[in-house]
Amino acid sequence: MGIFDVYLLEALINGVLLGGVLALLSLGLNLVFGVIDVVWICYAELIMLGMYAMYFLSRVYHAPMVLAAAICIVTVGVLGVLLHVVVIAPLLGAAPINQLLATGGVLFFLQSAATILFGIEFKNLGVRLPVLKVAGMFISYARLLAFGAALIGMVLVYLFLRRTYTGTAIRAIAQDRQIMTLMGVDSRRIYVITSALGGGLAGLAACLLVLQYDVHPFVGLTFGPITFLICVLGGLGNFGGGFVAAFVFAEIISVGGLYLDLEWGYVFAFAFFIAMMFVRPQGLLARRS
């Protein structure tokens, strides 16, 4: 069947679905970077805690899924605010690399806190969503759901940034943080709101990821690096670029994983990233200056 191989098509579709989740993952990180100019190295660990929240709420306390998801999103949002107030705020004036390293310390802290509190066993929701069969292809329902929710989440954030007063202030701060304080925007308040939003998006990602993956204290290391690379590939702080980069990455992983092992998919994706950094260091969609 040549190029229209059914497996290839399946891999392509799964790539698109994975891309939706990766785009959602990178959205929160991009938002925080674009506005506060800080890279949360521990971003994926926030997602890990969100996944544990989902696990405990639905498996142990038998909360309904939707309620559990709502609590999860709020909890991780609050964690985002805490992270900002406790760690980032005192370092806002320091060298950027120090902020990166401090959140790296938080990464270790959260990982080991999870190890101590929850143990190192792999845990899952025990929910097995059905698999759709379309024209001989197998498409995971969980991935489809994640893709849909990711799209909705991204549209909501877009509308919030474009249509509300606070959203406008956030975008203005992202463009020029000195001038906007002169214009009467309280940058500290905006930073807290942005951190809450970034955390909330991590929480949403956690709700969706927990449907497909087991949760364990080191699960963050599987998503973390790829999320940073997507943000950088798209241009840190550039939402459109991050969106496109997420799909490009997901396709490389998915199609590369089809022909060789999944690890090779990642190797190709990382190598592609390094190559692109040299071709377009400012990000995929950056204008040439």
Binding site: I97, A102, F108, S112, A114, E263, W264, F270, M277
Partner: protein, 316 residues
């Protein structure tokens, strides 16, 4: 300052295993020396604002190339280790040259190196038919006991002296860089690249020099670790945790002073061991918990690190 205290301390360190040779403390001392050397290698470039989050990649290259050459090709580590260093240096040039050429700095450089570390980890895992994947890899024992040819020694004293020599060599490199023009060039570059270039500093070449030195030293640390432990796995010699661990120990100890990374290694390894012994297997995670919290506290309150702060106080 007279050089006597340094020579006396050095002599005491050499004499240590002959006076006191309980296996466990020596084992810890060897690990501290090997990791100190790795952290010193990282800080050789890290102190100039070249924050690499991918040094685990170089360490993994050093360890796996040495072990694979020995097991697959029967190549003695005496030849294998230089090849591994070359491989580490080559990898560094491959990634760092374009980075420096196209002015990828700061966050971006850190994240590109993060990708490099990720690639090495994934390649080791993916080529599991050769490397054993995530289960780890063991260099074959050479006819049982010790052998100079295979660089395998059963006695801890021998290993202690080797690790001590390598660690001292690492410090020597650090001081050589510290006293060279390279240091001034790199300091100028870390302040302002354009200004440095305008005053005639060859930015790309100078940065590349220190990166290659640092990468090759880290690969040596990996090879040494492999020969001593006789077991390597992707997670213990490569990957993001190892890369971050290097950064953190260097920062906690003190990035801008020669013995800072060593102090960082002593603190982090001793803390992990003390917790492991006093709390037992329940201690899993506690060391990193304290470690992570300490790191945040250090970066907020003591950005010069422990030794750096102490020395700065003494100078005043």
């Amino acid at each position: 300052m007279s050089r006597w205290p340094r020579w006396i301390a050095g002599a005491a360190l050499v004499a240590l295993p002959f006076v006191y040779h309980a296996p466990y403390p020596l084992h810890i001392a060897i690990l501290i020396l090997i990791w100190s050397f790795a952290y010193t290698s990282w800080s050789a470039m890290g102190r100039f604002g070249l924050t690499s989050l991918g040094h685990g990649g170089f360490m993994g290259t050093g360890a796996y190339v040495t072990a694979l050459l020995w097991n697959r090709g029967g190549v003695s580590p005496w030849l294998g280790i230089p090849v591994a260093l070359l491989a580490g240096a080559l990898l560094a040039v491959l990634v760092a040259y374009p980075c420096f050429r196209y002015r990828i700095t700061g966050h971006y450089f850190a994240l590109v190196t993060l990708a490099l570390g990720g690639i090495v980890l994934q390649v080791i895992t993916a080529t599991r038919d050769y490397t054993g994947g995530s289960l780890g890899y063991t260099p074959e024992r050479y006819q049982g006991g010790s052998s100079l040819y295979a660089l395998q020694f059963s006695g801890k004293t021998t290993w202690y002296l080797i690790a001590l020599a390598v660690w001292a060599a690492g410090l020597y490199v650090w001081y050589r860089v510290d006293g060279s023009m390279l240091r001034y060039a790199l300091e100028a570059i870390s302040e302002d690249e354009d200004a440095a270039a305008a005053t005639g500093v060859h930015v790309t070449a100078e940065k590349l020099k220190i990166t290659v030195v640092s990468a090759a030293m880290t690969a040596l640390a990996g090879a040494l670790y492999c020969q001593y432990q006789m077991f390597i796995s992707p997670d213990t010699v490569s990957g993001i945790s190892v890369s971050l661990q290097m950064v953190f120990a260097a920062v906690v100890g003190g990035l801008y002073v020669a013995l800072g990374p060593t102090v960082g290694a002593v603190i982090t390894i001793l803390m992990a061991e003390v917790l492991r012994i006093s709390v037992g297997t329940r201690a899993v995670g506690w060391d990193n918990l304290v470690y992570g919290a300490l790191l945040v506290v250090f970066i907020v309150f003591l950005p010069k690190g422990i030794l750096g702060t102490v020395l700065a106080h003494r100078q005043r």
